[in-house]
């Protein structure tokens, strides 16, 4: 997994709330193989019109934000469908982090596994940062430090929190499957006790095979 320690980059404001994963990447793009990349599909129906031309009003079509790597957005970002392609699209486009007051839980987890940092800050702090990066006079550079759990924007420092294992995986670039496989003995020991206690939960083959199946 891609490591995340500190990132200093331009930020783009997208203050709308409830940007769900269907808006981040419409369902019709999900059949594309992962290896072909999803960056061009990001926010597709908002960024492009029906003829595929860029909508000039969209923040990512403005020169100032063209090379943004941090997105600052409204509450409940990434709600809805569990499609991990929402994270792929953001990451493939070039984003490293997204800052919002709240996130859909599944999106939040998907992001962390992909070396992409979701930063939760109180709504008023997010509004303040949106103000700074939207202002023509302001500098739209943000610095995020995952080690120290701080975000710096507009000369101010904001503290955020992210817990435990997934932070460690991000900081060290660890693969979660490899990590879990170091616990294989514990999983197997648990499983033996679990199926002794609840024998109906195990392998269902025998029951199933005695039934008429289609």
């Amino acid at each position: 997994m891609r490591q995340f320690v500190t990132v200093t980059a331009k930020a783009a404001p997208m203050p709308a709330a409830n940007i769900d994963t269907d808006q981040i990447i419409p369902a019709r793009f999900l059949r594309r193989p992962r290896k072909e990349g999803y960056g061009d599909c990001l926010f597709y129906d908002a960024r492009f019109d029906e003829a595929g031309r860029e909508r000039p009003g969209h923040v990512l079509n403005q020169e100032r934000y063209a090379d943004a790597q941090i997105l600052v957005t409204g509450r409940n970002f990434g709600s809805g469908s569990s499609r991990e392609a929402a994270v792929y699209a953001l990451a493939d486009y070039g984003f490293r982090a997204v800052v919002a007051p709240s996130f859909g839980d599944i999106f939040f987890n998907n992001a962390l596994i992909n070396g992409f940092l979701p930063v939760r800050l109180p709504e008023e702090e997010v509004s303040e940062i949106v103000g700074v990066i939207s202002s023509d006079a302001g500098d739209n550079t943000i610095r995020i430090d995952l080690e120290k759990l701080i975000l710096e924007a507009g000369g101010k420092t904001y503290r955020f929190h992210i817990d435990g294992l997934k932070r460690r995986c991000l900081l060290e670039g660890l693969d979660d499957i490899a990590l879990t496989r170091t616990h294989t003995d514990e999983i197997e020991a648990f499983e033996r006790r679990h199926f002794e206690r609840m024998p109906w939960l195990g392998d269902r083959r025998r029951t199933a095979e005695s039934q008429d199946r289609g």
């Binding site: 409830n18 987890n109 939960l201 269902r204």
Partner: protein, 462 residues
């Protein structure tokens, strides 16, 4: 110590817990569909196998056509269905592909086949996995990387969510269904109202519900932000589970039921949040905007963004109205519609089709209606009851089983700026197609709207 239902299921599946509060949970059942492609590619890239193939089951639902067979699909859609079949047989995972008798939407076939049981931890790479909580399972949706993790290890890392109880009191007025109950709940707590929580649904209305009704309620927990929603297993649950093909039988079933009885939330257990619903169940609900929280009683008028409470909310509501082609103050029932969809993991079960058919008997569709049963088993049952004839005589199209027009991945789409009344779960911008305008409603309300050609109050037809 007193525990909630959720805590009991959680703690009985905790393999280990780190000092930082990360739990490694054991997964009893893993359901997969065509979307598992990315996860399986990841396994292949890392030369990993499937750890517990006999606790993993598959069905083709997201991309399958509801008519015309595989040939009706575009090449890349067809490839998703074929890759799924190939992956399932390569890993020896029992799966129901297109054309098999038990194929259907993953959240319909899980409970239907007895793959979902009370007290288990069940995951699937789909956000509506919360559905299975209706049986008292802890069931939640996961992303592709987590699917790969579960396939490889049969376990998943989670941080303990908070517990919320939603008590639904009173009783349902005529024309008010489980779908209306969950829309009312989401309207009350908001699309992010249960983020970070697992919801336990309780109270007399929930207790009186059938399992199919509870499945509808739990299905949309994710639309309030909750990862999972569950209902305490009771006699209704045990009767439902009995005789399902994959459910335990005989002595094993009795042993299981004895354990399932112990899962109820202890009387003095504490929840992090408590919500009560009672006055909200007097009318069928329908959404006007682009999030499920915009549900209002069908006899209401579209609200004014000026009353939204904050400048941000006002702008949000205005954007939703612009997208939906609606204006504040309009009566919802006067809104003309272009098509109707009846189906999905929310409302594609036999009781849903019976409710829609009861209404369909009363007239003829004025707009195109697509009915997609949630599974081929539901389809067979409906045909045995003659529901298919009621639908076709009313001018409704009777199709095959799959996710269909809920998400449109198989090409069943709502047109640009066309308006649908849909029994599905998401009215998001672009969800049913580019520019599609979706109003979420119950099967009875959807059928009534089909007969009227505009959003309709089903109570006016009886």
């Amino acid at each position: 110590m007193s525990q909630t239902l959720f805590e009991k299921v959680w703690s009985s599946h905790e393999i280990l817990r780190t000092e930082d509060g990360d739990s490694l949970l054991y997964v009893d059942r893993h359901l997969v569909h065509e979307g598992s492609r990315t996860a399986i590619d990841k396994l292949d890239d890392n030369q990993l196998g499937v750890a517990r193939r006999h606790q993993t089951f598959g069905t083709a639902d997201h991309y399958v056509p509801t008519q015309g067979g595989l040939d009706s699909l575009a090449v890349d859609q067809r490839k998703m269905v074929e890759t799924f079949d190939a992956n399932m047989s390569r890993f020896g995972i029992e799966a129901w592909g297109l054309g098999t008798r038990r194929q259907g939407i993953v959240h319909v076939i899980g409970p239907e086949l007895g793959l979902t049981l009370p007290g288990m931890v069940l995951v699937c790479g789909d956000s509506h996995t919360s559905t299975h909580g209706a049986l008292g399972a802890l069931a939640f949706g996961i992303g592709a990387s987590e699917v790969a993790h579960v396939l490889a290890t049969q376990a998943i890392w989670q941080r303990t969510p908070k517990a919320m109880r939603v008590s639904v009191n009173g009783r349902l007025a005529p024309g008010v269904f489980a779908k209306d109950v969950i829309l009312a709940i989401i309207a009350k707590i908001g699309t992010g109202g249960a983020t970070g929580h697992v919801i336990e649904y309780a109270g007399p209305v929930i207790e009186a519900m059938s399992i199919e009704e509870r499945l509808t309620v739990c299905n949309m927990s994710i639309e309030a932000g909750a990862r999972a929603g569950l209902v305490a297993p009771d006699e209704t649950t045990f009767a439902y589970v009995r005789d399902r093909p994959f459910a335990p039988t005989g002595e094993m079933l009795e042993q299981a039921i004895a354990y399932w009885r112990s899962l109820r939330t202890d009387t003095d257990a504490r929840f992090d949040a408590e919500i009560t619903i009672d006055q909200e169940l007097h009318a069928p609900m329908i959404t006007w905007g682009t999030t499920p929280e915009t549900a209002i009683p069908v006899d209401g008028t579209i609200p004014d963004p000026e009353s939204a409470g904050s400048p941000e909310r006002r702008d949000e509501w205005q954007r939703a109205l612009d997208y939906m082609g609606l204006a504040a103050g309009e009566r919802l029932q006067d809104v003309q519609i272009d098509q109707v969809f009846i189906g999905s993991c929310t409302n594609g079960r036999i009781e849903d089709l019976r409710a829609a058919a009861e209404v369909a008997k009363k007239g003829r569709a004025r707009v195109p209606v697509l009915v997609s049963p949630g599974s081929m088993s539901v389809r067979a049952q409906a045909e045995a009851e003659g529901l298919d004839r009621i639908f076709t005589e009313a001018g409704f199209e009777w199709r095959g089983a799959g996710c269909s027009m809920c998400v449109g991945m198989n090409g069943d789409l709502v047109g640009f700026q066309k308006r649908s009344v849909s029994t599905s779960n998401r009215n998001f911008v672009g969800r049913q197609g580019v520019g599609a305008r979706t109003h979420l409603a119950s099967p009875a309300s959807a059928a009534a709207s089909a007969l009227c050609g505009h959003i309709a109050d089903v109570r006016s037809l009886f």
